[in-house]
């Protein structure tokens, strides 16, 4: 297909501009986090770790991190198990109404979070669960479980069930087949699902604000509420830490995907 160098240049320029728009402001935040100034200003006076020190040693930020980790790990645990088991059940059994299960599993992705927040608030008020970490973790599970289900389902669709059938026909019982064949063959996808479930919980604001009651805020809620007051550079430091976590997780997910693909290929041969 003949194309001029001009068209190619325009194309690369477009890609560069969109990429700049998508990640440029985020990179500016990293720059700001090393500022020595009391308030946000441009260009910032560099260089200091003082805002990282505030984040590390301030008890209120620590409490927010602890609470996020607690709720996040509980939600990740629940979402990973419930989502993976359901994905396995729909992919590897003859179950009527699979499509209904699928629609159920994806539904939390498309319903506006404020509906879950106000609805969850009235439900939790009746159940007396407002301000409970477990209640909040369950709601985060609802928001994270679609990711686990979708990721594990698509991995299961790509790995050949004949390896599991082979294990069964060679005399392994169902539990051993699942433990020694199904789980290892889909482990990268299960871990990827878990990472997403954690990320969702670690980023959730709307539902968390409504259901936290008198509890201390989680990390994203604390960042969110400090933004409506005064914008202090400590938020830039907190954000930078979150950005680094995001980069690490993204690399991890890329690695896991390659691992899963290699599994699927190895099984296919």
């Amino acid at each position: 297909m003949g194309e001029t160098a001009n068209i190619r240049r325009i194309r690369y320029l477009l890609i560069a501009l969109v990429a700049l728009y998508l990640i440029g402001p985020t990179l500016v935040v990293i720059w700001l986090s090393f500022s020595t100034d009391e308030v946000l200003r441009f260009p910032p006076h560099l260089f200091s770790w003082r805002w990282y020190e505030v984040f590390l040693f301030d008890e209120r930020w620590n409490e927010a991190v602890r609470r996020s980790l607690l709720v996040g790990s509980l939600a990740t645990f629940l979402a990973t198990i419930i989502g993976s088991v359901a994905a396995f059940g729909t992919a590897r059994t003859r179950l009527p109404g699979k499509q209904i299960v699928e629609i159920f599993a994806i539904a939390p992705l498309v319903v506006p979070p404020i509906i879950l927040a106000t609805g969850g608030y009235s439900l939790f008020a009746k159940l007396d669960m407002i301000g409970s970490n477990i209640g909040l973790a369950i709601m985060h599970t609802v928001l994270g479980v679609p990711y686990v289900y979708l990721i594990v389902s698509s991995a299961l669709a790509r790995t050949d069930p004949s390896i599991e059938l082979a294990a069964l026909s060679l005399g392994a019982n169902r539990w051993r087949t699942i433990r020694d064949v199904s789980i290892p063959a889909n482990l990268p996808a299960i871990i990827t699902g878990a990472l997403f479930a954690f990320l969702i919980s670690f980023d959730e604001v709307v539902v968390t604000v409504f259901l936290s009651g008198s509890l201390a805020p989680t990390l994203p809620v604390r960042v969110f509420s400090s933004l409506s007051l005064a914008v202090s550079p400590v938020v830039a430091a907190v954000s930078t830490v979150q950005i680094i976590i995001a980069i690490v997780l993204m690399c991890l997910v890329g690695f896991l995907q390659r691992w899963q693909r290699r599994w699927a290929e190895a099984v296919a041969h």
């Binding site: 297909m1 998508l22 159920f104 498309v110 106000t118 960042v223």
Partner: protein, 298 residues
């Protein structure tokens, strides 16, 4: 005779197809999906039922009164129209820019494709709160853009850009753009390259091939992407709350204020249910477009 043979062969292959994936028995299948259904039944559908109860607690008459009260409320109308307007703009910008970006990536060599893909995926991993905060750093009075404009001598004193609708748009499009690019890019990847070669052999230039071949074959994918972007935009909360302030509040912000500041749970519930109904209707439309698109691919 022949038709019955065909039917039998078809049924036979269907059974083989199903049996191929069957590792465990049906009761275990039910057992494995029941925790998910239980979780979502109580904590996903439960909240919606609770909202409905909150509205209909005052009887049918009281509830219809609630609906007319909300629907005739001036502030609600303003916010509802603003929500639709902002979401519409976000959708148009995201889908047009997203299409251009997806097309540019698709026509690029594999190395460029994977770099661009990584750059698009990165925001999906970064917290929306963090990304919205980044925009306040850009647009605030002593933020980057004001500083640059002042230094360039284009303005005399810093402009107040935060808490305006264009800034909300900029922040929301940034969040929604990957959701527009990725499905369109996937649709483009699914195109039959022979069609493009045929078009080129017949003497079509890139622009003609694009208008006569690529665009007609991918417009359903772009349609599904538009509905999804619009639906997700309707429910935005964080971006308008931080970048918009009260003057650019969207419906989610208004619901939140009604419930948490005015303790008007009934009003908030009515607005939530209205938002839910609109969302579900639009998703139904998206499903219809999606099945039309699937039909075209065959």
């Amino acid at each position: 005779m022949r038709s019955s043979f065909n039917a039998k062969a078809k049924r036979g292959s269907a059974v083989a197809e199903v049996d191929r994936g069957v590792v465990l028995s049906q009761p275990i299948g039910f057992a494995s999906v029941s925790p998910l259904l239980l979780l979502l039944g109580i904590f996903f559908f439960g909240p919606m039922v609770a909202l409905t109860f909150a509205i209909f607690a005052g009887g049918l008459q009281g509830s219809s009164g609630l609906f007319t009260e909300v629907l005739t409320n001036d502030l609600f109308q303003t916010v509802a129209f603003r929500t639709i307007r902002i979401s519409l703009f976000v959708t148009i910008i995201s889908v047009v820019v997203g299409y251009a970006m997806a097309y540019a990536m698709w026509r690029s060599p594999p190395s460029m494709r994977s770099i661009a893909l990584a750059l698009i995926m990165f925001p999906l991993f970064t917290s929306i709160v963090v990304r919205t905060y980044a925009w306040t750093a850009m647009f605030s009075r002593n933020g980057m853009i004001n500083t640059l404009l002042l230094k360039a001598g284009l303005i005399d004193k810093s402009l107040s850009m935060l808490y305006t609708e264009p800034v909300v748009l900029i922040g929301m499009v940034q969040v929604m753009l990957p959701f527009a690019i990725l499905p369109i890019y996937t649709t483009l990847l699914g195109l039959d390259l022979d069609l493009l070669r045929a078009s080129a052999i017949c003497g079509a230039r890139e622009r003609q091939t694009f208008a006569k071949v690529v665009l007609p074959l991918t417009k359903h994918g772009a349609g599904v992407a538009s509905v999804l972007v619009f639906v997700i935009s309707l429910g935005f909360f964080i971006t308008p709350a931080i970048l918009g302030g009260p003057q650019s509040a969207m419906i989610s912000n208004m619901i939140s204020t009604e419930v948490t500041t005015f303790y008007n749970l009934e009003g908030g519930a009515v607005m939530s249910v209205l938002l839910l109904i609109v969302t579900l209707c639009l998703l139904f439309v998206a499903g219809k477009i999606g099945s039309i698109a699937a039909h075209y691919r065959k």
